[in-house]
Amino acid sequence: MADYKLQTPLSEAQVRQLRLEDTVTIDGTIFGIRDATQIRIFDEGIAPPVDLTGSVCLHTAPGVRKLPDGRYEKICIGTTTSTRMDRFVPGLVEQYGVRAIVGKGGVLEASVQAMQRAGAVYLAIVGGAAALETLQIEEIEQVWWEDLMPECLWKFRVKDFGPLILAIDSHGNSRYRAIQERAAARIAAFEL
């Protein structure tokens, strides 16, 4: 179990070294995506207007205030459940080269395998802890697809973003899978 401080963009070697239970803190840039963003990319076949190679993507739809100059001020930025968007993960990591997904709730087996093939990881944030998360996001740098508000494609500048828990590594291991398997066995053994 080790603590890593990583600067974006991430290389394959950087994510391959990470193991379950490591903790990661990120500096640099994080992209915000949610259901509608990925429906546009994958179901409507519209390529993202920015290169996501080596990027870190966060499952979010922020609360914001639009300023007179067109920029956005953060009000509250937190994380939503990744499992809902599980089917987009293979495309993100294999087609677009995303190296890390930050979310809560985890993703399922096909995504775990895609992350293993592509060299990508899933970093668990504490869901609901948006007051802290908002402080770690320094600025909303850019936004695309404003018609999807608040589920646009967001670019955030972050400092000391974390600590994030390495919950799915790039070697086919998932902490969620292990815990759910153990829970299933324990439930089966209960005398009801």
Partner: protein, 299 residues
């Protein structure tokens, strides 16, 4: 001159903000208890998660900011005294106005969309929203309002099963544990598990919501058999090891609350509704002379 409706509107708006910022004392105490338990058991990840949750609550207190970005679907539980002189349709329309004002004035993220077109209303209001649950208190001249912004991560973990009577208590327990397993990491555990037993299908779901969202932690159902089931299920759910954020640990649920109604001889309805760790709710009482008392998560 200020009317009772003006007061209702202001209070309902402020309760939306308070619920998003100020976590109720009973929830804070339960989270602290979870942290102590995980520390004692040596579950370092669970300890880190619960520590972060408590730090986050503290940060929201210090900076006067929202605890979580999910501003939810607004749910108002309103208890009107039978001696309170209010027109109910006007009360409802003022609560709707309060949600719009809360959203625009803060501004809060709006979550309300048409279920088919997914078109946003932009105000956290719309057809059937806010959800207003009305009840009446005999003899009182007060109005009590409790507001809960119900977040999607936990609300998506909602389940109903019209079991056979022959499946009995064992069937109820089995179904609840299946629901918890299926929920896993998704509803932001440690969760509050609300269970509705009996009634018709819609009543069972409403009872589950009352149990998950409006009951305080530490309260037991007055029926001793039901209270025993609450204790047994809490114990078993925490033995699953799902833990905080589904990353392992002994604090999977902060509480199991059950509400019930009588049911048909052919029915055995079980509904499950989950609330996330933030357990957000805020309450106020408005008297006939427009005095307002606020309660942290209840009155």
């Amino acid at each position: 001159m200020k009317t009772i409706y003006d007061t209702i509107e202001t209070v309902a708006r402020d309760l939306y903000w308070t619920a998003l910022k100020d976590i109720p004392d009973d929830i804070r105490a339960a989270l602290k208890g979870g942290l102590d338990a995980e520390r004692k058991d040596g579950n370092s990840t669970a300890e880190q998660v619960l520590f972060t949750i408590l730090e986050n609550i503290k940060t929201a207190d210090e900076h006067d900011t929202l605890v979580c970005q999910d501003t939810g679907l607004p749910v108002y539980k309103v208890v009107v005294g039978t001696k309170a002189a209010v027109d109910i349709p006007e009360l409802k329309s003022r609560i709707q106005r309060a949600c719009e004002r809360a959203t625009v004035e803060y501004p809060l993220r709006s979550n309300t969309v048409h279920p088919l077109t997914r078109k946003h209303t932009g105000t956290n209001t719309g057809q059937g929203i806010p959800i207003i649950k009305l009840d009446f208190a005999p003899g009182s001249d007060c109005i009590e309002i409790t507001m809960a912004p119900k977040g999607s991560g936990s609300e998506n973990m909602s389940f109903l099963n019209m079991l056979n009577p022959a499946e009995g208590l064992r069937g109820i327990k089995k179904f609840v544990l299946q629901c918890i397993f299926e929920s896993g990491a998704k509803p932001c555990p440690p969760m509050i598990v609300g269970i509705g037993l009996g009634g018709t299908s819609d009543v069972a779901m409403q009872l589950a919501k009352e149990a998950s969202t409006f009951r305080k932690i530490g309260s037991s159902n007055p029926d001793p058999d039901v209270a025993a089931l609450e204790r047994e299920l809490l114990d078993k759910i925490n033995q699953t090891g799902i833990g905080p954020q589904g990353l392992g640990g002994t604090t999977t649920a902060l509480a199991v609350n059950i509400e019930w109604a009588h049911t048909h001889i052919s029915h055995n309805p079980v509904a499950v509704n989950i609330q996330c760790w933030r357990g957000e709710r805020a309450s106020a009482r408005i008297t006939a002379d427009l005095k307002v008392t606020y309660g942290n998560g209840g009155l």
